[in-house]
Amino acid sequence: MTIEELIKEVLLIEEGIKLTDETGPDDIDAWDSLGHVNIITGIEDEFDIEISPEEIGEIGTIGDIKKMLAKKDITLE
């Protein structure tokens, strides 16, 4: 599963909506505080990792999530 697919599933975003590395909370209504927590939890469950508060503090866009995962040597599809 790609990060975009995971976010679409967690936030129940319709298929037609395009997500890019620049997409963040300002672009999607459902990406509010609770949506943010659900994305973090979804990534932790999907990749069986724990994301530290410092790493969470760096996450503002989809691109930031990918960078964080890359640092953990997680390869995405």
Partner: protein, 484 residues
């Protein structure tokens, strides 16, 4: 002499401490003198657009200093502030505009509304400041705040200057915050709780730090470190989010706070105990209230450590009654309806005399909450008279969701209830029971997409169950309790 309004108190603060910081927002640090000047500029702008005493000023409540300018400017002209949730669906906005018929609608972008509308960018702060200042009287109408009613239609809660001033004075008296404090406000400003905190601090001459929600708790920590923030207002779901994202890193920062005001929703007992343990020197206050009678009950966790399951005791200057259906006070430990009396009490609902009449018994406001009082005067909550669901501090009436859901061609009927074990962040969550139309099928995901754009996100059910029939009474009233 005591000021008769928040706006009068604010201008007194501006005269007393012109150089003091009033609002911090992102990288902007704005003094009382500057806020007061901008309020007078917006007031002049509104006056030039024909706004006068009693007119409604509708505006989108974006989290920014502009909110404070527009809000206080409306009051300075003795007009009535009608803040609108930026995430409110379009048809709901239209309903509010139709009900209030505002003299102006201030919108962050140019949208096609049928009311006289001006963009926030259109020179709001470019005019001269208003010079002739006359403060409103305490009995003048200050705000109309919209909440959803049992039938799903919006109702406008009317608050006078006395009401909102009393809400500020009472909570300050309980919490003990003053002009020396700097408070973080992550709550939305259209919501009664966030708005009360803004008013309260502006009235006192304190400093507020506006932060967009709970998504980036590091901003709270920065505010505490860099700006010596001494207080924060939160809903329990916000605190749960902070804990999830920051784990126990919040402790050394929150430990420095003089006070926290929680409110709007129940909080898990373990979290209350955890806060008591980790924040020994912080006043951890929690209010119980509703838009109509703000923060009418308060509890402080350290002082009431043995009564943490109670709502608390009546707020300063507020009377609480536990009434039977005839308006007679119930004996100790017997459950009745919680009723409220005091200067915080709303006048009633905008253009809804019948609903207003039904909401009072003698001169007491009926909250719709059921509870009892113990021997020490603590009030306990037992339940609700109606089917209202509390999602992270926001009240949701099932009928509102059902009305929209039933418009889907595959849905014949529906009933929504709260799920008692609920969501770990929002407390309760919503489950929809759906009766399908003949020979129709639909996936929950499609229903969710259907509801999006028609309802606020927090009102969308998380769970769906398809059933054959909604249980009803002989008179046809839905028995939602039977579905739980």
């Amino acid at each position: 002499m005591q000021p008769e309004s928040i706006v009068e108190g604010f201008f007194r603060s501006s005269e007393s401490y012109p150089e003091k910081t009033a609002i911090i927002w992102k990288d902007e640090v704005i003094s009382y003198a500057k806020v007061s000047e901008n309020v007078r500029r917006v007031a002049f702008f509104l006056e030039n657009h024909g706004i006068t005493e009693g007119d409604r000023v509708a505006f989108y409540a974006e989290k920014s200093p502009l909110f404070a300018y527009v809000y206080l400017a409306a009051h300075l002209l003795k007009a009535v502030a009608v803040p609108l949730d930026v995430k409110l669906p379009e048809d709901r906005i239209q309903e509010v505009l139709h009900q209030t018929n505002p003299g102006i609608l201030l919108h962050p972008t140019e949208a096609n509304h049928s009311f006289r509308q001006v963009s926030f960018d259109t020179g709001l702060l470019k005019t001269s400041p208003l010079n002739d200042i006359n403060f409103p009287n305490k009995d003048d109408l200050a705000d109309i705040l919209f909440t959803t009613g049992t039938t799903g239609n919006s109702k406008g809660v009317q608050l006078t200057h006395q009401n909102i001033l009393a809400g500020a004075v009472n909570s300050n008296e309980f919490i003990g915050n003053d002009a020396s404090d700097t408070e973080i406000i992550p709550l939305p400003l259209h919501h009664a709780f966030g708005l009360r905190r803004l008013r309260t601090n502006m009235f006192l001459g304190a400093t507020v730090i506006l932060v967009d929600g709970f998504m980036f708790p590091k901003l709270f920590f920065d505010a505490i470190e860099q700006h010596n923030a001494s207080g924060i207002c939160m809903v329990p779901s916000g605190f749960a989010i902070v804990k999830k994202l920051m784990k126990d890193r919040y402790i050394p920062y929150f430990k420095k706070l003089k006070y926290i005001e929680f409110g709007s929703a129940p909080m898990d007992m373990d979290e209350k105990r955890e806060l008591i343990e980790h924040l020994p020197n912080t006043r951890i206050c929690m209010h119980f209230g509703l838009t109509e009678v703000a923060a009418n009950i308060f509890i402080e966790f350290h002082e009431a450590a043995g009564k943490l399951h109670a709502l608390g005791k009546p707020s300063p200057n507020v009377s609480i009654g536990i009434f039977d259906e005839n308006g007679k006070e119930k004996p100790i430990r017997e459950t009745g309806e919680i009723v409220v009396r005091g200067d915080i009490q709303t006048l009633g609902y905008w253009n809804k005399p019948e609903l207003t009449q039904q909401s009072f018994i003698n001169s007491w406001f009926k909250t719709g909450d059921l509870g009892f009082r113990d021997e020490e005067g603590y009030i306990f909550l037992s339940g609700r008279k109606d089917d209202v669901i509390n999602i992270g501090g926001k009240k949701v009436f099932p009928a509102e969701i059902e009305d929209i859901l039933n418009q889907h061609p595959a849905v014949k009927d529906s009933a929504c209830t709260s799920v008692s074990e609920g969501d770990k962040f929002t407390g309760e969550s919503i489950k929809a029971f759906v009766v399908l139309a003949r020979n129709r099928k639909v996936e929950p995901k499609e229903l969710i997409h259907f509801l999006r754009g028609r309802l606020e996100l927090y009102k969308i059910p998380q769970e769906f169950q398809f059933i054959g029939k909604i249980p009803t009474t002989a008179s046809g009233k839905k028995q939602r309790d039977k579905l739980k």
